[in-house]
């Protein structure tokens, strides 16, 4: 048993922590054909990432409750588990057993399809989120562009549920959500384009690798400070977080497009918005904060300590630190988003559209042009 584990361990490390190759090697070692091994491998990373996303949501919901409570000088959830850590589970369970109501005058087909269409693109986008050099579902060549394309499907689901609810608040909320998401997608894409231009690739792996040449000094946030701000503002707007939560502004629209939803269908919206928040934070850390990179290059530390960077133990440690760094940066950004929720007032719809079209769009175009100029002028620092 121990020898088998040892073989697996060595195989994992020898392939540069590429779990797929070592998994296939292992299955072929016990006598399965390679096609069957591949088929057995396929669902594993998807299930892993899906559960990672769900656990990420549970943690975020708990954080949101606790930090909100702290911001308002309350205690927040306390009795469900230590520090109320089981509260999100209780929330989920409550939504699961709630009655699933479809209003009589609603369009039941579109009413059901709407939340699904909102959730699926968000989950699909996790395809490209890297936690390490080989730790992502698929290193597709179009990488970050896939996320931009997928996030443009969401407005359809929002419009669908807003229309199908047969409720004026829902329709207004759905229209607002779609308008907001369309107008902030453009500056978002332009900010991403500037990063892509510097790393000469759309792939998230390449974008992170290009940032990890000199520790935290080479992170994109220092080369793209304006792009970082634009991306963060647009990401908040795409997630419908305060100060941009107009589609569900309680004082004006009850709950926007979610007004008529209850039970599991509401839970899908809830899940979708939180998965989207975690995903956006992950992508900010991938695009601007060096992804899985440690602030000081690990090879440097290993050299100082007199260890070889190719040592199996060191590689395992590097991989774990990579995952921890990604998660740490992500939750730092989630924390920032929650703090912003309690410190900024909501903007009006005309202010929102003005900000998107008259301020962020020109600024992001200038940022793109500026990046192109800097890339031509200083190819060393800006990825020639």
């Amino acid at each position: 048993m121990i020898t088998t584990l040892n073989i697996v361990f060595v195989a994992v490390v020898n392939t540069g922590l590429d779990l797929e190759i070592s998994f296939n090697h292992f299955l072929e070692g016990i006598g399965l054909p390679s096609s069957i091994a591949h088929l057995l491998w396929l669902p594993l990373p998807m299930l892993l990432v899906l559960s990672a996303a769900l656990i990420g949501v549970l943690v975020t919901v708990w954080l949101e409750r606790k930090i909100s409570a702290a911001a308002q000088q309350r205690i927040g959830p306390e009795y469900a588990g230590a520090l109320g850590i089981l509260q999100p589970m209780a929330d989920g369970l409550k939504l699961l057993v709630k009655e699933d109501i479809i209003p009589q005058k609603a369009d039941s087909l579109l009413f059901t399809l709407g939340p699904v269409l909102v959730l699926i693109p968000v989950i699909l986008s996790w395809l490209i989120v890297p936690f390490g050099q080989n730790l992502l579902i698929s290193n597709v060549g179009i990488g970050i562009f896939l996320w931009i394309a997928l996030s443009s499907i969401q407005p359809i689901g929002l419009l669908m549920s807003g229309y199908a609810s047969n409720n004026k608040y829902s329709l207004l909320g759905g229209l607002r959500a779609a308008a907001q998401s369309i107008s902030y997608e453009i500056p978002l894409a332009l900010a991403v384009l500037a990063v892509v231009m510097m790393s000469n690739s759309l792939s998230t792996i390449d974008i992170v690798n290009q940032q990890n040449t000199a520790g935290f000094l080479s992170w994109n946030i220092f080369r793209q400070p304006i792009g970082f701000l634009i991306f963060w503002i647009c990401a908040l707007a795409e997630c419908e977080r305060l100060p941009f939560d107009l589609p569900e502004a309680e004082e004006e629209l009850v709950a926007g497009y979610q007004t008529e939803y209850a039970g599991m269908k509401f839970a899908l919206f809830y899940l979708g918005s939180y998965i989207n928040l975690v995903l956006s934070s992950l992508l900010v850390s991938v695009l601007y904060l060096g992804g899985w990179g440690f602030p000081i290059p690990i090879e440097l530390i290993a050299n100082i300590l007199g260890q070889s960077a190719n040592d199996p133990i060191i590689q395992i440690i590097t991989g774990s630190i990579g995952i921890m760094m990604t998660v740490f940066k992500t939750y730092l950004l989630v924390f920032l988003a929650i703090l912003l929720r309690w410190t900024t007032p909501r903007v009006r719809i005309d202010q929102l559209l003005d900000l998107g079209w008259k301020f962020l769009l020109p600024i992001s175009l200038v940022n793109l042009l500026f990046t192109a100029a800097l890339k031509l002028a200083f190819p060393v620092a800006f990825g020639g």
């Binding site: 060549g141 394309a149 997928l150």
Partner: protein, 200 residues
């Protein structure tokens, strides 16, 4: 038949049946909102076909442009205008439907003829996969630069036209005919458009 080819075949059959069925639904369904949503489904399936052909950039662009922009725009237009009342009966609707059906059948027959008589090279050219993005960029900025720029000018014209049409109503109101309170409101709402009227 390996697993890969059979999966590809199944995907192709599912996608093409969605495209054909959805396309027919878009035309035949009376409820215009359903038509618009079905159109979105058809666009998505076309993107799926591009993915099957190993053209991932084109597929993503298809989703971004057709689903994310054009279909959402169509839905916006429908939902802002849509009044839930049956359409007025049009005279001779059956005759019109018959003639338009004839035209469509003729077009379909023409397409089938082209499909059968053309000598398709099988297998087609090898898909270049991931480097397609770079290749498309190169083509757009070298030999297809002129059509690319012309298309952008066309879009710009459409955009300016839309803005002019949308802004015309507030501009053309005669300021003298209305009471002073509303006059001020209209003046302030026009302040971005009109030339500065304040005495200085």
């Amino acid at each position: 038949m390996t697993i890969a080819t059979s999966t590809e075949l199944i995907c192709f059959l599912i996608l093409s049946s969605i495209i054909v069925g959805g396309g027919i639904g878009v035309v035949l369904i009376e409820n215009i909102v359903y038509s618009a949503f079905l159109l979105g489904g058809v666009f998505m399936s076309v993107a799926g076909l591009y993915l099957l052909l190993n053209a991932s950039f084109v597929a993503a662009a298809q989703v971004l442009v057709y689903v994310g922009a054009i279909n959402v725009l169509i839905l916006f237009a429908i939902m802002l205008v849509n009044k839930r009342e049956p359409l007025k009966p049009i005279k001779g609707l059956k005759v019109r439907k018959f003639f338009s059906g004839c035209v469509c059948a003729g077009l379909l027959a023409l397409l089938f003829r082209v499909d059968i008589t053309t000598k398709w090279s099988t297998p087609g050219p090898q898909a270049i996969g991931e480097i397609a993005t770079e290749r498309i960029g190169e083509h757009l900025f070298t030999d297809y630069l002129l059509p690319f720029e012309l298309a952008s000018v066309l879009l710009l014209m459409a955009m300016i036209g839309a803005i002019v049409l949308a802004r015309r109503d507030t501009r053309s109101i005669q300021l003298e005919e209305i009471d002073p309170v509303r006059e001020n409101v209209i003046k302030s709402s026009n302040s971005n458009v009109l030339i500065d009227q304040s005495p200085d």
